[in-house]
Symmetry: D3
Subunit: 136 residues, 6 copies
């Protein structure tokens, strides 16, 4: 039965979904937290990327918009996640202007300091991407 | 003086946008907080609904998805806003299944208790709408 | 021993400051949480009301404004504290109009849902006070 | 291979772990949110209860203390989770006095209003349990 | 058309109020976020500084106290805003001792880590100001 | 007068408890915030370390677990406190593996970005400790 997917398969599916959506290395994500929590990276890939990202109730573009909005609402706590998902959002077809619009709307929900934290993270992501384009 | 005339125009534009998107009475929204802050309702209508909702960088459906995700991330603080905007999201073409998917994704960003607060608010909104359909 | 005598003195000072600023019974505050945490109420009275409220670096009116602003920024979590301190703020000379202005300003910092949570708490406090005035 | 556990098995393991730790019906938990998000309850049981609760790096008593502390720190957002896990903590051997001590310590981390939200939830849980003991 | 003229007037009023209260360049504030959200800076100046700061229900000193308290309660998310508004508060007549007192009081509402985040931001602001005084 | 003598005693008790649990200098903690709030460090030592840490309702190991869980749930706001208390937790007998398990469990309560903020703080603490071991 197709639901009988073992843990190794789920992790593999999570890795592929992470790399297809985010565009970076899933192993680098795992390695980044392995010095503290070696089991946590693989579990996040299984839960978020294999079990949920793969669902097609909303398309990937909408999913990245949801993540940007929710993480922007978290302010400083969500800044790293915003920075990571800016690239995923652009890959999924969200424009830079739309990212700005999303953050402005989040400002009403979570306050201006939270929106400005997210804008700082997006600014850093844009700068990295533009530097990489120039160097590439 | 043109300034006060223009403020009235912005407020009028905000009222229309509120009623077109949310589907309820803008005056009821103003009245609901007037016993404490009579100037705040009109200002919210001007800022959020006249100045920002009217922008077409993202469409209304996307905007309502952003608001649901951001307010769900606020947990108990955002529950009333989630309840209000569930109706706006459905009017804009978001399905009930997609609302569930959005809240599940927010669970990763803001935690399960925040997602469950939002689900409670959505459940109440669905119940009100279904009761109203039955009675109507 | 002088230590226990002094603790009693601090608690007594905390009780008096609580009752002078909030206007309600310090014992009722202690009793309200005693079924769960009987030592916590007395410690809060000592820390917040004996050790800090009694300091005159800022006057009581300013202190109540600080508390309203900070608790309003906490949204749903701060709502009960906002309700309690509305009465203290009015006793200290803050007007109802100024409370509204404070909450509007907090809306920029913490978002509109947080400000609306606080407004709901203030509305309930005003209603209780007005009902009490009418009945009294 | 033992890691080749299928989804049905994981869900079943999650249900058993939920019922063993929390002491209530896993199906009631699923049903409580099914009107909005029918897939979310089963996924939470798999992720939190099958994948993580079953790990023995910390014992169940310590895990419930962690959950109480983290959910208390969330204030109003965490109140329902605090109420649910109070019963689990008591079942795992945490005493009522220790729950109070945990919440007092959380007050330093998350503020007094957050601690008081948690105390309100614990008070409600204690009252339900004591009423049930009397009636039973 | 009068609408665009009036918007320009509001923006101009917002710029003047920003510079009078904060003491820095409004254009620098706009430019700081323009790489991501070029329309957001002007809108913030209109909403917060033209529409609300100009109201005299509370005086500028009280308003800056409200902002410090609310942003301090946001912890890491509010740290940049605290740093910006420390200077505004001092310009409006709040003393350094009073800023410390405000943050101590916020510690009860939002927890010690939030208060310590704000203290870190104030420490950085004081250091910049003292270095500038020495160099000036 | 006995009151000031007793305050000195409480402060002294707080210092000893801070140094016994955290393992660093209580004076360094006071000095770190004295440029902004010279009275706040001593008061924190009295309230948290003399009045509460000294209570034996829960043992020191459990108390440090509570603090880690609550501060991790605060995300970016709690990161410095997590970093400080990692060392206290290890001293009290919590293992590195258990700290990871605690943070994974907090991820369900407060979301993955909050857990990842805490993991970043723990990673920095581990790196400092390991560098110090190598150099020592």
């Amino acid at each position: 039965m197709s639901s009988s997917i073992d843990a190794a398969t789920r992790l593999e599916r999570g890795r592929r979904m992470f790399e297809r959506s985010i565009g970076g290395s899933a192993q680098a994500f795992i390695d980044g937290i392995a010095a503290v929590a070696p089991d946590f990276g693989p579990l996040i890939l299984e839960w978020e990327f294999a079990d949920v990202y793969s669902r097609d109730t909303i398309d990937l573009k909408t999913r990245e918009i949801v993540i940007l909005a929710a993480c922007a609402a978290l302010g400083a706590t969500g800044a790293d996640a915003v920075k990571l998902h800016v690239k995923a959002a652009l890959r999924a077809g969200v424009t830079r202007e739309q990212i700005a619009e999303i953050l402005m709307q989040v400002g009403f929900a979570a306050g201006l300091p939270a929106a400005l934290c997210a804008i700082g993270a997006v600014k850093a992501a844009f700068a990295e991407m533009d530097a990489s384009d120039t160097n590439g």
